[in-house]
């Protein structure tokens, strides 16, 4: 009797069991399986290869793979450029909108538009705009008489990289703008006046008073962005698909190509875990910064 009672799981556990089963089936099992497969030479075309455990061979190969490191470096460059541009533009936008005396509500709504587009659509939209023959941008440049050539935006490797940066910045600046605007609106106005009386120029007021206050909000945006940067995959996939000649290959396009085109799932999974690990490091880093900035302004949230 007593033994039976001990076997019987507690009620909360029983009640949570369905959720646990579903989560395990759709998240935990695939996660473990893919993690395991990164230690095998698994190919989609040869299911049996899944059972051939090769230890760290995939990871070893990645470390010496020039193509991987090129894509890796380019991804880091893209993120550095894009995130910084997004933060600066978002800050600028937020400060302009905060100054607006009329129609602020409308401006705030308009500012959020890019967030409503799926990244696929952003990709198509910019692919059209940067098209060398029929694109809006070349058309505009030519009509304004700034150039008489068709600039090969998506064909030249360097230009294509910047075209992607522009698309990425367009689609994600609003996250920074919204969060920083929230910070500006929550900010008490008296310290700014005190700073003016204390002798600050407008720039010093921003530098020493406004910025320290909105910084945590910028870090929140950074943290969110460091979790969802992989969204950029859709944009790149549509605009250039890593081309021309792999000149805009990023980690995400490389991984999907390795997994599906080359069918080397094991290797692709190893790359993906490597990338995820780095992404987690970034997130932790920004989270730390956020916590520090929060205690600094004595925030109560």
């Amino acid at each position: 009797m007593g033994a039976l009672k001990r076997l019987r799981p507690s009620t909360p556990f029983l009640l949570l069991l369905p959720a646990i089963v579903v989560l395990a089936a759709v998240v935990v099992v695939p996660l473990l399986l893919s993690f395991y497969s990164s230690f095998t030479p698994f190919r989609l075309t040869q299911p049996a290869s899944l059972f051939n455990f090769v230890g760290f061979r995939n990871y070893g190969r990645i470390l010496t793979d020039v193509e991987f490191w090129t894509a890796f470096g380019r991804t880091v460059l893209l993120l550095t450029v894009a995130l910084n541009a997004e933060m600066l533009l978002g800050l600028g936008l937020a400060m302009l909108v905060e100054k607006a005396t009329a129609g602020q509500r409308l401006l705030r709504t308009i500012m959020m538009f890019p967030m409503m587009f799926s990244p696929i659509l952003v990709g198509f939209q910019f692919k059209f705009m940067f098209n060398d023959n029929i694109g809006l941008i070349n058309n505009a440049l030519q009509s304004l008489g700034l150039t008489d050539q068709a600039i090969p935006w998506l064909i030249d490797g360097t230009l294509a990289f910047w075209a992607i940066v522009v698309a990425e910045v367009w689609s994600s600046t609003s996250i920074f703008a919204i969060l920083i605007l929230a910070g500006l609106l929550a900010m008490p106005k008296e310290p700014i006046e005190a700073a003016r009386v204390d002798g600050c120029t407008p720039w010093q007021t921003f530098r020493y008073v406004t910025w320290p206050f909105v910084m945590p909000f910028a870090y929140i945006a950074m943290t969110i962005r460091s979790l969802d940067v992989a969204r950029a995959y859709d944009i790149v996939k549509i605009m250039t698909d890593g081309g021309p000649a792999k000149r805009t290959e990023l980690l995400w396009t490389l991984i999907s190509r390795t997994a599906y085109a080359d069918a080397r799932m094991g290797l692709a999974n190893a790359m993906a875990y490597f990338a995820i690990f780095l992404s987690i490091l970034f997130t932790v880093y920004f989270f730390r910064k956020l916590a520090a900035a929060r205690t600094q302004i004595g925030a109560e949230w």
């Binding site: 008490p188 005190a194 003016r196 009386v197 002798g199 020493y208 004595g298």
Partner: protein, 365 residues
Amino acid sequence: MATVSLQKLVKRYGALEIVHGIDLEVADREFIALVGPSGCGKSTTLRMIAGLEPISGGNLKIGGRIVNDLPPRARNISMVFQSYALYPHMTVRENMGFSLKIAGMKSEEIAPRVEEAARTLDLTHLLDRRPSQLSGGQRQRVAMGRAIVRNPDVFLFDEPLSNLDAKLRTQLRTEIKKLHAKVQSTVIYVTHDQVEAMTLADRIVIMRDGHIEQVGTPEEVFQRPASKFVAGFIGSPPMNLKDAEIADGRVVFVNGDSLPLPRRFADRVTAGRKVTFGLRPDDLYPAGHGIHSGQEADVHKADLRVSITEPLGNETLVFSEHGGAEWVGRMLNPRRLRAGETLPFCFDLSQAHLFDRETGRTLRG
């Protein structure tokens, strides 16, 4: 250290005029208190002096120089805000040294000045805390410290004590007074607390609806109020102000009761003049429980019925009926009174005031 002069200073928000051309000369090292009811434009005036609000008309001079269009940083002023406005991300030390740092001073020069100010304000042990870790009174002192490290020409205070409890307020009031004696700067101090104004200021400016009603020393505004408004605003409890009419040497109240016309107004009013009669509670007391300041002949005696009393310990406020209205008197060396009791009262008419009922101005001339 500088003079401040306001010449026909005007503030408009759009078509709405808030401050209507006020004139004021503040002498070097003078402590000026700006008082008035809520919404009369005290903060607006102060903020125009600070440069935080653009001036819509007239001139503002600091140290003889017109500063209308100069930004706050070019005016060499310090301001203590009602909400303290400390920088939340800086320690007390950084808060206090911030203006010096902005002015380009080296940290070796800043440190001793901050420490000196901290000693004056008893903040030394708090220097490394952040504002969020301080009590209201401590924050207030930091705000004051931030203002004094700079040796500004002019100090501006906007109701610095109004967020504090009564005890702390009294204590910090004394500290502000000591501080002024020590730093010897020109101070303009906004408050709606007349006790603060009376105790601190060299001169008091009483504002009402964007106008200046009277400027004078605490004694002047208390003893010789220029208008009914000032008479009612300064002094606690407020002066008894009752509408009356002059009739052959007497002041006749609405219900027909009367008092003799105070002698010093004898040749200032004629019969039939509609006036407001004013008498401070100190000058209306149960016989034997007060002091008259003029001659015995000016004291009028009458029996009044006590309606309620408010014992304060050292004195009792006595409310009683006269002339169809309620008057408040002050009873020194109080004894216990019963409601409904009738007592002989003294009206010290040498201290009475008469105001024109229409304009509210004093008839003293």
